[in-house]
Subunit: 503 residues, 2 copies
């Protein structure tokens, strides 16, 4: 058994290494690759993707898993080995159900679709991508149908990102959240909007980057096992537990972009860097779900990074970096500026309060499209109507409406968005649990100290990687299943102090 | 036949893509990887190396080559297809003769050996690496013995780098060169050494890099398909014909390092960028041998980049970049400084004239070690003796003697060094042929124009990639086989003007 288990791990390590190499190809493409390299790079990434899929779906892995079943059953449920076998079995069963030709077809299609989208979006031309999106919807349904027996056709598409949640679960949580959220949004947006002009000044790039990276390291980001580069869209990526990188972008006329995207990606990176080093190279060595991952980016970006306590310590430092721009701006004005709530068009720029409405809109459309209740051709209109209903404004064009997010144009429809809001909810839940265990956390933040919080998260969440599923880890770390209460308490407290929330 | 040929190309493309990905892993390791990534990176590179070897030695490739033999014979010798099949057959026959376990063993060994060398060299401790080097020699002999029937045991080790040359050929060429070179070295080094103090001043890094890269682009380096980054040791690497990168390093107290290493790597890059784009992804899409590759780095670095004509145009520009450092230095003094000839310890810092003596010493030792005429334990002493005989000075330690080059400590013994001197010889031969065809080349260089030269090299050399072997391309491009005459004429003319060369 020991031998077979070792053989399985060796095979998984090979898959991991190919996958990590593909990750580096992608990172390089986004950071330093000269334009002439694009065509070959796409091909090389496809080759490695295909290879890792081939290696992972090798029947030898299935045979090893079968042979190891008695061993798995003999182990405690929570042992590393049992968790590794359980996770591998789940992924393997899923992977072998999708024919390689189908995956290749979809990959080709989404590459083309992405290309067309990059041109159609600036041209505000939904009609150009419509046929591609229709094909994508078809592929999405086909993809779900490789896993018959689902309750909802979106379930198999949600599963790889947020295992343990079904469409019905997400709907229930979102309905509850929506009910609590809408009155707050209405109350705030009927008041005078915050003045964030102090953020819209000239802030030299180098100083922005240096400040962000300093905070990032004080959060606990280990630069010995990481680095930051510039990309068009910020992201976190990992090539091993010893090499977890973040990227950011700067706008020299807006302070908020680089700073908060750096803190956001730092949250993702802290999760990955916190995983037990002996998991390196195994499927356990990554965050367990998109919702839990997002909980960490949002926790560090928002709950910590946009808190009054945090800026109590850091604002004087920021002022000394930008004395001309911020020297005369009181901390209260700055704090209101970075927490400005407004009905805006773009999800990625949205504030903490309205953000979730953007997500719910997309999630609901994914379900409706998959169910056949909505057709692609009707999507732009449906978007405008729903947007007006939810936000009270109509997007002036499709560019900043249905064309704004890359997800549907570079991947399947289904399962793409729920993780963002699950992350907001879980971020508060984890933070509340940490604070309950260590009531000194808030005052430490006020002193620019994050170690107690970081250690609690490492101990209860990060170190486990994918050893536990999202529902398991939430329950273990916080003592309860996912709940919107900590999040709503957080929002009501924070924004109740900034705005009048009474009806 | 068409189908089988396509199938072969598809398989070779896969091998190429894995290989290119491994190249990026290496580039990243040398440029941006955080230290924590080292262990996993070594493993990932080994995994990709093993995979590409597995894919290339797949018996299916042998079967395709067999099946395609009648097709190959039906084609003109010089057709792209025939050349591709011939080259692939040669590489395949070679690859299948080396057992995968042997390769893995050697890879592990050389990694260890390299690690030990990185510590042993600064500590001047040959004894620490001695057992590793002994093992390396054993592996080198074993490696050669997978190819029985050789004339000299070094032949199979020279073959993959400089196909078409055997140890006996190299010995003959080197003996001839040595005879012509030694009197010149003696004549020069008995005279007052050139004063190169103007190069040893403070030159800010950014300005050095910008100047070097500007020249590089004027040579014809296409930044749309390339870029430059900083590494500890400069190199050129390629991930596709659309992505050919160079690296450099700067010393702020020495102008010569970054500038000439940039021009050197640019030469390598021009070769790769000049390959026919329709060869992309095939084994034809790289330079044909280490000697021919080095001919291009040396041609652009030395024959162009250290010529009086070149500086006639560029020296005023360089002076305007560094007015304080060079404003008062006459062009003649600068020209003498960058062409200073001296008996020095380190190969990589050696001038054009003495450089080859460093190479010959190493080449002769490789043969003697492989033949069993010299034992590793006697190598440091043998080095000192030979060095004194050739250079008239004794290395004060092993650090700057037998321990100076990485080659033997991170690879096999045999075939590692001859390419450098073959490159010097061939660089002059190609340049002479280009100038004969286009007598305006020298005066163009004087005007900072390189297109006629670059175009000639593209047409007669670069575009063909590995389509022709080194002896074939030399004969095609220059009309004669490899000859030391153009090189000696070049050296005698250039250095005869700088020094008194009469006995």
């Amino acid at each position: 058994m020991e031998n077979k288990f070792q053989e399985l791990k060796t095979r998984l390590l090979e898959v991991n290494d190919i996958w990590s190499a593909a990750g580096l190809l992608h990172w390089d493409q986004s950071t330093y690759m000269p334009p002439g390299g694009a065509a070959a790079r796409a091909r090389q990434m496809a080759t490695l993707g295909r290879l890792s899929h081939e290696k992972f779906t090798d029947p030898a892995i299935g045979k090893l898993l079968d042979a190891l079943e008695p061993y798995q059953k003999s182990l405690p449920y929570d042992s590393d080995e049992a968790c590794l076998l359980r996770l591998t079995r789940r992924r393997y069963e899923r992977a072998i159900k999708v024919p390689a030709e189908f995956t290749a077809e979809v990959t080709n299609h989404t590459s083309e679709s992405y290309q067309v989208w990059t041109e159609a979006r600036p041209a505000n031309d939904f009609e150009r991508v419509r046929p591609y999106l229709e094909k994508t919807l078809e592929y999405s349904r086909q993809s779900a149908n490789f896993f018959p027996g689902y309750d909802h056709i979106a379930d198999p598409l949600i599963e790889p990102r947020d295992y343990g949640m079904k469409a019905a679960d997400v709907k229930r949580v979102f309905a509850e959240l929506r009910q609590a959220l809408v009155p707050i949004v209405s109350a705030i947006t009927s008041q005078e909007p915050a003045d964030d002009s102090c953020l819209h000044q000239y802030f030299p790039e180098e100083k922005q980057l240096a400040f962000g990276l300093e905070v990032s390291q004080q959060f606990g980001y280990d630069m010995n096992r990481g680095r930051q580069d510039k990309t068009h869209h910020p992201f976190m990526t990992k090539f091993s537990l010893g090499d977890v990188r973040i990227t950011t972008r700067t706008k020299e006329n807006f302070l908020g972009d680089a700073l908060f995207s750096t803190l956001h990606e730092t949250g993702h990176a802290l999760y990955e860097q916190g995983i037990r080093m002996d998991f390196e190279g195994t499927p356990l060595a990554r965050g367990t779900s998109s919702g839990v991952h997002e909980s960490q980016s949002r926790l560090w970006e928002n709950i910590v990074g946009r808190s009054r306590r945090f800026w109590f310590h850091y604002y004087p430092k920021l002022q000394s970096v930008f004395p001309e721009q911020l020297g005369d701006v009181p901390i209260d004005a700055f704090y209101r500026a970075i927490n400005k709530v407004e009905r805006s068009l773009i999800r990625t720029n949205a504030d903490e309060v309205t953000y979730n409405l953007h997500v719910m809109l997309r999630f609901d459309f994914e379900l409706a499209l998959l169910e056949g209740e909505l057709e692609i051709k009707d999507l732009p209109n449906a978007w405008r109507e729903r947007f007006e209903a939810d936000f009270g404004i109509v997007p002036p064009d499709d560019k900043d409406g249905v064309l704004q997010d890359v997800h549907w144009y570079f991947g399947l429809i289904g399962g793409s968005f729920q993780g963002y809001t699950l992350g907001n909810i879980l971020g508060s839940q984890f933070f509340a649990a940490a604070t309950e265990a260590h009531p000194e956390v808030p005052s430490e933040i006020e002193n620019g100290e994050f170690q107690t919080l970081h250690n609690w998260l490492k101990e209860h969440l990060y170190q486990h990687g994918s050893k536990y599923t999202a529902p398991e880890i939430v329950e273990r770390a916080t003592g309860t299943p996912l709940s919107i209460q900590p999040y709503m308490t957080y929002l009501r407290t924070k924004y109740g102090e900034l705005y009048d929330l009474t009806d």
